[in-house]
């Protein structure tokens, strides 16, 4: 379905430097039983946020009131494992609109782009700069500028550009999704299908 338009986002950021965070951590399989898309944010990082009795684990970053924002800055190889789009639904439902990492798993990245959460791939060095800046000042503002394809720490001006293909960029900026595009070319697809 069409989603929110994304142009420029200025927000505080939540740091999660752990590497190889798989989609089973983002949302465990036992919470995938809904038949609608709502409400997954409650179980985002469920087993890192809550203990087995359901009490908040105070040392987990989402439970630390020091950190908040619409940007998640994650460690290397974020979103590996299962193709469950529920992982992105959970991030979105919780309030994240952008995930930043030095390395994303492929299917997760596609899933992000398909529902309008912007995945921003940065260098390992810039990831270190971001983690250090957020640790020094948790209220520091990060700007994601999609038209310019830049990510900037506003306090210092430290900045880096990121890649996104023109088609997906256009979709994100206008809130279009792939199905709109595919349905518009159904005659062409029908011709192709008939030849097979």
């Amino acid at each position: 379905m069409a989603y929110d338009k994304f142009t420029i986002l200025k927000s505080k950021a939540v740091p999660l430097p752990t590497e190889n965070v798989d989609t089973d951590q983002i949302i465990p399989a036992r919470f995938l039983k809904a038949t609608e898309r709502e409400g997954f944010g409650d179980n985002l990082f469920r087993d890192w946020r809550y203990d087995v009795e359901g009490n908040l684990k105070k040392d987990f970053v989402l439970n630390d009131p020091t950190y908040s924002g619409k940007i998640l800055v994650a460690g290397k190889n974020f979103g590996s494992g299962s193709s469950r789009e529920h992982a992105v639904w959970a991030l979105y439902d919780y309030g994240f609109r952008c995930v930043v990492s030095s390395f994303f798993a492929d299917i997760f990245k596609n899933n992000c782009l398909n529902i309008g959460v912007l995945p921003v791939t940065i260098s390992a060095e810039f990831a270190d700069t971001l983690f250090a800046a957020i640790a020094a000042d948790p209220t520091t503002t990060v700007e994601i500028n999609l038209p310019q394809q830049t990510i900037t720490l506003l306090a210092t001006g430290a900045s880096e550009s990121f890649d996104i293909n023109e088609y997906k960029k256009d979709n994100m900026q206008h809130g279009f999704d792939d199905i709109d595009y595919l349905i518009n070319m159904s005659a062409e697809i029908e011709g192709f299908a008939a030849s097979r």
């Binding site: 798989d22 036992r30 609608e36 898309r37 789009e85 792939d178």
Partner: protein
Amino acid sequence: MEKNTLFDKIWDTHVVKSVPAGPDVFFIDKHFIHEVTSPVAFLNLEKRGIGVKYPHRTIATPDHNVPTVDQDQTIKDKLSRMQVEKLRENCAKYDIELHDLGSAHHGIVHVIGPELGVTQPGMTIVCGDSHTSTHGAFGAIAFGIGTSEVEMVLATQCIMQSKAKKMRISVEGTLGKGVTSKDIILYIISKISAAGATGYFVEYAGSAIQSLSMEARMTICNMSIEMGARGGLIAPDETTFAYLQGKQYAPKGADWEKAVAYWKTLKTDDGAIFDKELVFEAADIEPMITYGTNPGMGIKVSGNIPTTQGMEGSNKNSYLKSLDYMGFAPGEAVKGKLVDYVFVGSCTNGRIEDIRAVAQFVKGHQKAENITAWIVPGSREVEKMAHEEGLVKILEDAGFELRQPGCSACLAMNDDKIPAGKYAVSTSNRNFEGRQGPGARTMLASPLTVAAVAITGRITDPREVF
């Protein structure tokens, strides 16, 4: 003449259109769906007021959340029941072939596709499940997709995909005794890491791969995603054709001859260029096991857990967090450690050959007292063969509990869960935190290693037992 890889040959013939500075509009021959990742796709179709474009190109089965006991009764868990009922409703409404619980071909989607002969060389196959890469064993381009893409396939039979880079991994030579295809793939992932093939589609080649059965090839392609690859595939050959011949949906008569003639063209041309090439020697591979919380954290069963030497920062912290979860220390041996559960099953190792291997090894032995042993066939067909071949009796005599087909303890979204803190040696594909139940500690291994662990109750090299 242009030299192409197998991957190029299949990909390029399925591109309806290339979007300038964007992805390809990629045509999908076969689409598998299950109860967990499809309901929202159907719901969105309804919201848009559109239907399923080519229903005969989609096949459905419930597998992820189904119970593995009393499948003839109503599912007790309300949410699981609702998802399965939704799948039934949607299949009936849109005229999609459903292999329902209890039917002759019910099972894990990646087990029944090949069994039915739906999966064939040269096809493009997707499913809202990352282990769709399994079907690549037949020389198909097969990969997992998200629910938005499930919706795209239902609505248009296409998805928007950028072509992946190409990697060839060759394994040459002869495998040693007690070494299986599961050990090959755990070895490869341990060498290149859980992210080592991200951005690539992998072709597996070499004499060790060519010598494998279809079941063994499926195990390898299945775990391609565990090193980050979009998918993995193996060129079809006589082994592939022999497996497919006579299967329900395989071509028949003159169509068969025509199909085989085409399938024989599906191989990488000599001199074709890959973006990356890796070569491993089969003789270097020993029985493998994982000790951490991603599939790249694997060692030979007789080996020691790596120390933190050379690690720093978040890399070291993530490593220690993982070992802490597992209750292990850097540098220690895994062999001899006590185990609580063994699980044989899943889309990785839930096929008849896997069950045969375990039965052959445990025949005449008893499982250790400290072990709970679950064996879960990947499909009704596998279950039926296991009964007919007398394997069920052997396994039950050895103290294994045979359950009904489904994803079972691979992912803890049904009743089959490993309790917190307990160790499970499992033939499945993921050792992530909580994968087999909150707090569960998973160690991935081959069916043979699992059989050895079941008998001794401890981490054991299968070559030392049987």
